[in-house]
């Protein structure tokens, strides 16, 4: 039994909810609607992301393919980000959400270091609408919507209906049925984090792309610009 969590893992526990997402990679068209809906919902600033969709091209002309891989916090049932947090600013909710208490977070970035999925970021202080800054933030599985009976924002708008959300402890929910009927994978299962974002039918290229460094000049030069922009800033003391 994992220690240091505020709520026990709820997967498979009767009477408890275990919110989870299934990403059907056959259906993702890389439209990026999810990315923008999420940015709008939370006024997510430039340069940080709660969710992204990675893109990778494979093959040789004329046999080429494009692969998309949506990514977000896995709301791990055994989240390493939670145990190391010195203030319990990040905590595990009994229904499976892994959440942030901004008012507690000291931005020590321990949780950022702990998350193997790079699902966390430090909010810059200069924002547009929402003024919270200088603390760590992450995808919340839209718990404020889910608890009011709604789908998360990125699921709501997903053009391909690639993102499916629901209670995995309910055997009749769509997520349960999808996980039951399809071969799914989770990311880095070997880390023992018990991620709760399940991917249907990933190609090898898709699972590989999440590990790979930018390859094209277009992507590399963006990465360089990104690091240049951040260099010398508080949370970025010249590692890269």
């Amino acid at each position: 039994m994992p220690v240091g969590l505020q709520a026990e893992p709820s997967l498979g526990v009767p009477g408890k909810k275990r919110w989870a997402m299934v990403v059907d990679l056959r259906r993702c068209i890389g439209c990026m609607a999810c990315v923008c809906a999420d940015k709008a919902e939370y006024d997510v600033p430039l340069g940080v992301w709660r969710t992204i969709v990675k893109v990778k091209d494979t093959g040789h002309y004329p046999n080429t393919k494009r692969h998309f891989m949506p990514r977000l916090c896995n709301h791990c049932d055994n989240p390493p980000c939670v145990r190391n947090c010195p203030t319990e600013a990040t905590y595990k909710h009994e229904d499976g959400f892994v959440l942030q208490r901004y008012e507690r977070c000291i931005a020590c970035r321990t949780c950022v270091a702990a998350c193997p999925y790079n699902a966390r970021h430090v909010l810059p202080k200069n924002r547009d609408r929402v003024k919270i800054g200088g603390v760590v933030d992450k995808c919340t599985f839209c718990n404020h919507r889910v608890e009011k009976g709604l789908q998360p924002a990125c699921v709501q708008t997903c053009l391909g209906r690639s993102r499916i959300f629901g209670d995995l402890n309910d055997p009749n929910s769509e997520v349960s049925r999808l996980v039951a009927r399809h071969k799914t994978v989770v990311l880095k299962p070997d880390k023992g984090t018990r991620p709760q974002v399940y991917y249907i039918k990933p190609d090898r290229a898709q699972t590989e792309q999440v590990f790979s460094a930018p390859h094209s000049y277009a992507a590399r030069s963006d990465a360089e610009d990104f690091y240049r922009h951040n260099r010398g800033s508080k949370f970025f003391s010249g590692v890269l």
Binding site: I52, P86, T87, R104, C108, Q209, A223
Partner: protein, 295 residues
């Protein structure tokens, strides 16, 4: 559409490396300064050789600590909340423990100093033992801070805390050696004392370095990736600064029975080992983060 990346930054930068180094040095400096009171006559009373160092050692330790605390606080996104890890203490977080121990350690230094000035042996013994344990906990917790990241394979092994303790021994020895050499108080006995510790520290560091090398080469994909990153991005720091300058060279120096006991050579070796202690930590902290930067 091109390949699209979420750009990530490695969360821990230079401040953390400096902090880890200084806190280790502060801790071991204190241990040396407290040694006469703590060990007294054990080991044939060699610890007594540190008596002339006590006052200045405590002062240096306190100064280092006074740099460390604010440095760490400055590094926080919310510096004004620096007490939160204690207020909202989370027992599974090494950082919480660290934040608790750090001020206590500071109190011990002050208490010991007080005892020293007042000649209060009992106070010195209590604060000395307690302080030494807390001092040990400083490099230990910084190592644990990395080690408990089950998901970062370069860090997630028990040698890291041990290594950090050992490295702090080297840097602490360097502090003592330099100060005492400058003050002309590096007596034969003191040299013997420091030599023993440095030798031990370097030998263990050497062993751990080799172990790390084997582990990274024979390890999982992520470990091999870490090895690649170390060699590509930190080649000079790892092989040059850490291994050659920071481990091998001082080890050779201290291993030579005569030469190794020459106060100046010993001090040189200690300083070199401190350089190694710094860059070893730096490489480990950075490379450990970079394995996942593109994930």
């Amino acid at each position: 559409m091109f390949e699209y990346m979420e750009y990530n930054i490695a969360p821990w930068g230079q401040e953390i490396v400096i902090y880890f180094f200084l806190i280790g040095a502060a801790a071991m400096t204190f241990v040396y300064a407290a040694a006469p009171a703590v060990f007294g006559n054990v080991f044939g009373g060699v610890a007594k050789s540190m008596e002339p160092f006590q006052k200045i050692g405590l002062l240096v330790s306190l100064i280092l600590l006074a740099i460390c605390g604010p440095l760490l606080i400055m590094d926080l996104g919310q510096p004004s909340r620096f007490l939160y890890p204690i207020l909202y203490f989370h027992w599974t977080s090494p950082l919480s423990w660290g934040s608790l121990f750090l001020p206590l350690f500071g109190l011990c230094i002050i208490g010991f100093y007080f005892g020293l000035v007042k000649g209060n042996q009992e106070l010195m013994r209590v604060t000395g033992i307690l302080g030494s344990l807390l001092a040990l906990s400083m490099p230990l917790y910084t190592g644990l801070d990395l080690m408990v990241n089950q998901t970062r394979e370069l860090w997630s092994n028990p040698t890291i805390p041990l290594l950090f303790v050992i490295l702090s021994m080297s840097s602490g020895t360097a502090v003592v050696a330099v100060i005492q050499l400058v003050r002309g108080q590096l007596t034969a006995q003191a040299v013997e004392f420091l030599h023993a510790f440095l030798y031990l520290a370097l030998a263990v560091t050497f062993a751990l370095f080799l172990a790390e090398w084997v582990v990274l080469n024979y390890g999982t994909g992520e470990k091999q990736q870490a090895w690649e990153i170390i060699n590509q991005q930190f080649g000079f720091k790892y092989w040059g600064m850490t291994f050659l300058i920071g481990i091998l060279a001082p080890l050779v120096l201290v291993a030579m029975p005569k030469l190794g006991r020459d106060p100046r050579i010993l001090t040189l070796a200690a300083v070199l080992s401190a350089v190694g202690a710094y860059s070893f930590r730096e490489v480990l902290i950075y490379a450990g983060q970079l394995t996942q930067i593109n994930f």
